[in-house]
Symmetry: D3
Subunit: 214 residues, 6 copies
Amino acid sequence: MAKKMAILPLLFIFSVLASSSRALVQDFCVADLKSSDTPSGFPCKKAAFVTEKDFVYSGLGVAGNTSNIIKAAVTPAFTAQFPGVNGLGISLARLDLAIGGVIPFHTHPAGSEILVVIEGTICAGFISSANTVYFKTLNKGDIMVFPQGLLHFQINSGKSNALAFVSFSSPNPGLQILDFALFGNELPTDIVAKTTFLDIAQIKKLKGVLGGSG
Amino acid sequence: MAKKMAILPLLFIFSVLASSSRALVQDFCVADLKSSDTPSGFPCKKAAFVTEKDFVYSGLGVAGNTSNIIKAAVTPAFTAQFPGVNGLGISLARLDLAIGGVIPFHTHPAGSEILVVIEGTICAGFISSANTVYFKTLNKGDIMVFPQGLLHFQINSGKSNALAFVSFSSPNPGLQILDFALFGNELPTDIVAKTTFLDIAQIKKLKGVLGGSG
Amino acid sequence: MAKKMAILPLLFIFSVLASSSRALVQDFCVADLKSSDTPSGFPCKKAAFVTEKDFVYSGLGVAGNTSNIIKAAVTPAFTAQFPGVNGLGISLARLDLAIGGVIPFHTHPAGSEILVVIEGTICAGFISSANTVYFKTLNKGDIMVFPQGLLHFQINSGKSNALAFVSFSSPNPGLQILDFALFGNELPTDIVAKTTFLDIAQIKKLKGVLGGSG
Amino acid sequence: MAKKMAILPLLFIFSVLASSSRALVQDFCVADLKSSDTPSGFPCKKAAFVTEKDFVYSGLGVAGNTSNIIKAAVTPAFTAQFPGVNGLGISLARLDLAIGGVIPFHTHPAGSEILVVIEGTICAGFISSANTVYFKTLNKGDIMVFPQGLLHFQINSGKSNALAFVSFSSPNPGLQILDFALFGNELPTDIVAKTTFLDIAQIKKLKGVLGGSG
Amino acid sequence: MAKKMAILPLLFIFSVLASSSRALVQDFCVADLKSSDTPSGFPCKKAAFVTEKDFVYSGLGVAGNTSNIIKAAVTPAFTAQFPGVNGLGISLARLDLAIGGVIPFHTHPAGSEILVVIEGTICAGFISSANTVYFKTLNKGDIMVFPQGLLHFQINSGKSNALAFVSFSSPNPGLQILDFALFGNELPTDIVAKTTFLDIAQIKKLKGVLGGSG
Amino acid sequence: MAKKMAILPLLFIFSVLASSSRALVQDFCVADLKSSDTPSGFPCKKAAFVTEKDFVYSGLGVAGNTSNIIKAAVTPAFTAQFPGVNGLGISLARLDLAIGGVIPFHTHPAGSEILVVIEGTICAGFISSANTVYFKTLNKGDIMVFPQGLLHFQINSGKSNALAFVSFSSPNPGLQILDFALFGNELPTDIVAKTTFLDIAQIKKLKGVLGGSG
């Protein structure tokens, strides 16, 4: 009986704590993608509408389509695909590399990356500001870290398909693919030539392949 | 006379500085709680409507109600109660512990804490990731720091009421009370058992006290 | 001929750029674990001694030993095991859960986490500051995010072994296992009782299992 | 022919990468100044409406008006004037100092500053928390750094006009001019006197010059 | 019997978790003040030598000496006095103001501040970058926040002693006292005059009081 | 006479404040380049040995040598050259572009950049993660911002020498020159080919020019 009376005040105090806490919770901030982004990420979906589904994403369970000439696919789970990571400083992507597949030179302007090889053999590397090359062949279970903003690549160097997951130190690390940046837009050929020392013919050839104009 | 003429240009230059400055001031960002939160905090109330009242809060001047079985109360001045701290990396709360009062094990996921004892005697402690226990009896005027995210507690270990103020390295440090998390919601009893090694009877007993179901 | 002469100055300018860059590079900061840690991480190994091996770790390629009563193992690649992640805001760990295996309730005080299921079926969940429970059964390829500092768990809910990789938004996220914190050290039984509301008998039983004293 | 067929899949893969990337880009966040500010800066202008003009500002190309008694002018390119810097951690301003011109003691609460002398001779200095004075005469091409939040000044100490550019480690460093803060608002004279030890007559004189009341 | 056997493996797994965790713990970083500071704070004392005493400080339990002409005293618990706060983003100080006591205009270049009045009545205020004055009389239990880097003051406006605690969003917020910066060092009088518009006589008078030369 | 007596206590209080402040000052952290770097920058030179010279750098006062085939020079004032910027979140560099000069495509992995044109005409641009090109011709006094980590370039598009200063949101922004990364090191030609789609002949030609092997 005494215990029963005790229960109410305890509930009371915990309720007070909980309700004040509830009002100001920002353990997480599931992105409301319809609002405007801010420098720290998207505004938060109202807590009342958040469910466990906001923290789970199934889009990486299926292999990306590698029927293309790089024989590879990147499937991201960044804020746009997986709003639950907004504001949490982390995201993930899936890499599929068919035999001979390559993820060409690229950078992530806003995040460092760790790759873990799930299947196959991958030759991966990056180049530092001091222009040193670090590359190594990775087998199943090996992991490699790529520091933020540096040019890096992954090549399937084995005889079977390769699968890897890559995580990033940002919910929105960005992705700048070198070839795409140089040859896949309307940057004029003469500017590309002046700023890369590549031959005009080489530039035009790759602009042709990658759909660039100018 | 010369002086009077000098005044106008001086006013002019300072006005220019002030108006440009005024337009872009973000010394502070009083929370507009009606807007959606973002990962960095709430959008700012328009500067024109900000007054000195936004930077002052009187809600901690009254003792919390300790008529409950923990014989203690936490009164927060986080962003939700005190919008002036939004974006400023700091907040405060008041702890009242009646004789025998206890703030049970809890964490603040998003901030470190400093406690200062104003009245009475408090036994306080925390446990590190390395599983070392650090606890000590604190007297009036003593301060103790609790690193971010670690389990900690406060117990009135004296013979009179105790009062303390706690400050946090975040305007919104969060608050996860262990008992409340384990026994005060709908997390199924078998999951609690599997993930804590507690006996089913113990879990059911505390779910009864704390209002948990499942 | 003119071209050959041109080469030398070009080398010259690039060398200048490279050498100045080389002197001040801090693209990365491989931990010198013999030095004292700082709030931002360990001092850096000298760049001249850094090789590709510093950025690759093979310790997650082997399953952890799950012959224990939780039937599970966590194998971390944090700064201590993988010094290449120091200062880069990211790390990784491997989770092995045998049939019936459980990673009991724990927190990471300094990082958010993403889990990707590689094999098997895992029931995973976390509890928010507002005391809401978010849990879900995850299948192969599913990912789930756990916000920083919140209590969470993983249970093998399938009929075969489960394997997952978890990445963190910190090179050193910390790990506080609830049972271990409450029952695996010298925190006196009466303090545990007061701060958790658990029965003395329950506490003593688990202290027995987990090696706690006091 | 084979090549032509290859092109389409390559375009396909790059398009996929590009479109996913496009959806979640936050390389930059040009301020939408009509929205409410947040602690991390203004919400972003929609990417579709961003052009190269958002990243270029011509307002610093013209000398500020130095026909005032400080014989100096500060022309800022902070977020309010140059929305392209929002969220990027940097901004710029132009300093013009006529002969005898002075930028009086001021602080930037939210950013460190580097000054580069373009024309003329400037005596610049700051005072540390330890109350040490650091000042030096700077000639054309010299640069000086002023740590965040400290009182500093610049004086044209040469016999011709001086021009400098100053950059800040924040898109919105703030600007608190000492004289303006003390004498250019409605802070009551007796409070100024108590908190500065200045004589009442001195305070009233400068309030007169700077337009302060109270 | 089975249970007894189970205990050992459980101990085993937890030991593994604990020892790996132990090796890489950085929940806290008690300052080793004999080492050189870094931009993120001091290197850490070795964990093996850390005790509960490192997290507790008793230096604020005694009133500061207010027998001076400002009739006030500031007693800090920053990193230098309380090494346990190093790296934790928070610190504390005690303010004693005798009747008529004043903490003159000052800034903290590296932290925001919250003040809580424990005894007496305090008139406190700050001035924004937009040159708006925010000041208010605070009674026992009232709290006020002062944004980072802005000029602020506290005056005992009651008829008895006043006591307050102030917390900061940095373990080392810095302290620049305006009068001390202007009149308490060797900054030449003519530079002070040019950069403040104060009269030479006023400057010399206060240099006399505050021990400045030049 | 009374005044003289008052002076001593005032000195006393200010001395106390000053000496405590002095002990814990970290307004700045001039790099001790002989110590090991950390993720937050270099350890600090002892305050007692810091002079005004540590905050001033004259190395940007002289034009860089543009007698090379890019007809351009970059002269940095990063931590290695100007230790005073360590920990302050900002740095500067000087760009000299002779007629026809070009700063080829490059990135700064760790900082955003603002360029201000001092002399001449510069065509500058960058490419976003979404592969949009933003470029514009800048005249004297124009400024342009380049977001962190993105490929960008500068070309002297006028008929006279051009001079610009560029500031960065980091004391150590890094510098990765695209051509140098691809063709100026020992990265094997076949890897360059696979990861860039450039022709082998083109790669070998530029490796020849830039000194690359492999």
